[in-house]
Symmetry: C3
Subunit: 315 residues, 3 copies
């Protein structure tokens, strides 16, 4: 994407939302991520870009998977990582998010990675600190590194993103993953279909760049190049959005029969952790179309790239 | 404070209580802390004084804030830090504190930072181990690094400690902070007034070096150079010490009207986490008199100094 | 044990069970462990054999003690350690152990240390990953590094293992320690007696290499060179295996009277944490026959040796 006479510069202080990024930003992050991924595959450690830096992992929601991914990424770059999983009990102590932000800021970290249950909570915090802030998931709003790693996994396995037909299926309404990934894929020229039960399909998804929404999965999967199944977030649902797990699987589960409707070289994705037998058949999760573990691998690489671009700026 | 012909040497194995320190000890720690604070402000890492050393953070009480401060301090000096937050569930396993001490000692750490709910628990443990022990809070007894960081914050912002009028207000009875800070400030020549509800004012505070105690906050704040508000430790109180939060705020909350009675350049402190609207008005916490985030910053610096002086000895 | 013309090579990918090791393997690990133990005693750090490597500590059961021992061992060798204590709440999210394994593997660690409540769970996981897997306890099955550290402690204090009479007393049925330690000691030529209440003595212990089982502790301790008391695992027992703690102590507690029946230079061991007054008298735990803290010390050394032999292979 380099344009003669134009010199690109990644110029963001924080990573709060895919909405803040341009197509060039995303491609720059993906290119850098690929370098990190190749280094890891070759058994090489990258340069210690974050040597003598401190990264704080502030997680108000439990997520061993995402927290570890950030921790491993930061350490590979030579950073000190301070894990701060905040149990419900501590929150009960009654300190506000702003006070937590100001307290952490006073400890002079170079980056804070934060997951919070309130949509917008991470942005709020970012205004009160001097260091780089990376959104690791805020409520049902954004999870930008997930959007980036999904896009990278697709680009690597399909060779491009432009023009691909991508179907995302599941609880779209509560999914920060669907939002972030749709935004990123749309920016890079994919055609995204969002599919789920009518009760779990929000309106306004055209603002994310979605081409269409549907509650007919058989229809949505027709000819798709990429199928991304979302986790059925049972803990997110307060009311009775769904009749039964069995009913859900019948209508929205990814089975081999259904997969046959997609393109013959379609790939299958899932952000994990999976509910096998609920949203995806085990044979598909473990089959040769699945790139699910590659998503995890790219997750570490993307976080290395983002940490380098943001925390590394302070040097 | 260097006296011709006299060569000072910091000569302590542990940091258990401010009571064990002389004025020269405190001034030595504060001087060293300032060097660390300046290094951090300038974006410099200090020498790795604790390289190849292991610091264990043994916290029997939940305190993300203090634990992180010690962790960041130890890592800045190059130490390995092993976090050991001991959940209630583990304590139920029934191992005695002495056995825990002996077990940890057998793993050959260079320093153990410990917080325990029993007053005196840290001292007990220190007798059973070979390495340096730092008290990060034991029951209602001591929290010496808090006393040091409070003193340092005052010395930096007011230019001196000697002769200052300091008012500490809140739940004095249950506060290890009040005790440690009063002792440190008194040693350095400040005049400390302790203020709180009659039910939360212990007797014998003259042994801490307090000049007086009172339950009249309006009176106590008159002409004060420093006002330190304590957190209302609701979880500490077993009985009915207080009528209501509203009543408490009316009598002992720091409001703008009350602050006007203090010296015109008085500073406001709080060890955190704050209960905004209960012991302190939000506008003051965020106002230009507040040095609350500077306390957090000095906290890391003081812990660097203490770790260097104690753990560094084993080299 | 070097045989002319024979060149020994430690050739294992994982450490899952003592059953997978030969006598030469064990002696090789113990020899290397001794070197690490001596280095620590001399205040020396070993070579950073695991520099730029990542060790994941995946603990599905709470064990501050074992987790810290592995963490300290790995850090001494220069590794990055990512702690993953998996709370019950996370497991409820419903991811299978296999998915967890594949997720972690995709993050490219060099070793995974795992404790899991299911016997065989660690082996299952090891089949799905590329890196070294170390069993830190799986159900009632194996805890191989405990077997090795027990054997090393005996070899150091008694000068040999061959021909020693070792009595292990307690809840043999639920003890992965008893199984691993018996296997290791038998391989090295000790004669192991297993003792406990009839309800807690499994059949088939001859397959572990035990010489005999008995529910008469007075008889079992007669002339023993080593007495190892097991922790009464109250949380392990679902039913009514035992009449009362008092009754247990009378029949199976280690008292000074009972210890007098053992060899005059007998040593006393316990894997910890101890229930003082239930399985062992306090005076013995703290007495000069006790090598309990030395077990902890050797634990770190053995884990350094095992991590070096396994994770170090990838270089």
């Amino acid at each position: 994407m380099s344009i003669p006479g134009y010199s690109y510069k990644f110029d963001h202080k924080h990573l709060l939302s895919i909405e803040d990024l341009s197509r060039l930003d995303i491609e720059h992050i993906l290119d850098l991520s690929e370098e990190f991924a190749e280094a890891t595959r070759a058994g090489r450690r990258p340069e210690p870009h974050l040597k003598d830096m401190t990264v704080i992992n502030l997680f108000f929601e439990n997520s061993t998977r995402t927290m570890s991914s950030f921790e491993i990424a930061a350490r590979r770059l030579g950073a000190d990582v301070v894990a701060m999983p905040i149990a419900q009990s501590s929150v009960k102590k009654g300190e506000t998010l702003i006070d937590t932000a100001m307290t952490l800021n006073a400890m002079s970290p170079d980056a804070i990675v934060i997951r919070h249950s309130a949509s917008g909570g991470v942005k709020l915090l970012s205004r009160k600190v001097d260091c780089a802030v990376i959104n690791a998931g805020d409520g049902t709003h954004q999870h930008p590194t997930q959007g980036l790693l999904d896009t990278l996994t697709i680009r690597r396995t399909k060779g491009r993103v432009e023009g691909l037909k991508v179907t995302i299926c599941g609880d779209i309404l509560h999914s920060r993953v669907a939002r972030s990934t749709t935004l990123a894929l749309h920016l890079l020229g994919a055609e995204v279909t969002l599919c789920g039960p009518a009760t779990l399909l929000p309106t306004g998804t055209e603002h994310w760049g979605a081409a269409r929404t549907t509650h007919n999965f058989d229809d949505a999967i027709e000819g798709a190049d990429v199928i991304m199944m979302l986790r059925l977030q049972m803990e997110r649902m307060n009311g009775a959005y769904l009749p039964s797990q069995r009913e859900y699987f019948r209508n929205f589960g990814l089975t081999r029969e259904r997969l046959a409707r997609a393109a013959s070289d379609a790939i299958v994705m899932h952000p994990g952790p999976m509910n096998r037998g609920i949203e995806i058949e085990s044979a598909i999760a473990d089959g040769d179309r699945s790139v699910i573990t590659q998503q995890v691998e790219m997750g570490v690489a993307v976080r290395e790239a983002v940490l380098k671009l943001l925390a590394g700026r302070r040097v």
